[in-house]
Symmetry: C2
Subunit: 116 residues, 2 copies
């Protein structure tokens, strides 16, 4: 990519999280990420696989999307934050999500997105 | 990651695509990817930013998600396919999307997802 990328895509694997089977807690985490990133929500869709099971959700943004998929039985959440805005905004969104899910460890990959 | 990953996440930047301002074409590409990957659709959400402008969409899956964001003015589409299924299924989904969007070039990164 020779010019400025269109956006940044953060891929975050979060271990040792709590409340991953709680639909309202996961929704709150997703909404907090949207607000902290300062991006514009187009639509939010969440699905709970059942009592004690995982939650999957995505926030569709004017600036792309934020998603979360949880495995409470492994205390694991897979998050991605793709925003066509500065990397600082994406990082603030991730920090807000992390503050809600309290992981004990995280692995984050940042991928610039856009035409060459 | 010591064990088998929970899933595979393909991050694909597609250049030289056609029909990226066409909501129904983008929806067809997304649905074709879901079908080719053999995954289960929970919900589909698309948004068109206006005539001649981009489309953004996401398919929420029982196996995670597939998203697409388009910039017709740059003939560019950003796709991600995260499926908790085999990498072969994710690749088949991407191939179906590519067949619909006809990029002249693509850059694909594959990221295994899951707890360590």
């Amino acid at each position: 990519m020779t010019g400025q990328p269109l956006g940044i895509h953060l891929i975050a694997d979060l271990d040792g999280c709590t409340r991953l089977d709680d639909l309202s807690a996961v929704e709150a985490a997703l909404r907090a990420a949207v607000e902290a990133a300062g991006v514009h929500l187009i639509g939010l869709k969440l699905h709970h696989f059942g009592p004690g099971q995982g939650v999957t959700g995505v926030a569709l943004l004017a600036e792309s999307h934020i998603s979360i998929h949880t495995w409470p039985e492994r205390a694991f959440a897979a998050v991605d934050i793709f925003v066509c805005a500065g990397e600082a905004q994406a990082r603030r969104g991730l920090e807000a999500l992390v503050a809600h899910l309290s992981p004990t460890a995280q692995r984050v990959t940042a991928i610039p997105r856009g035409p060459p």
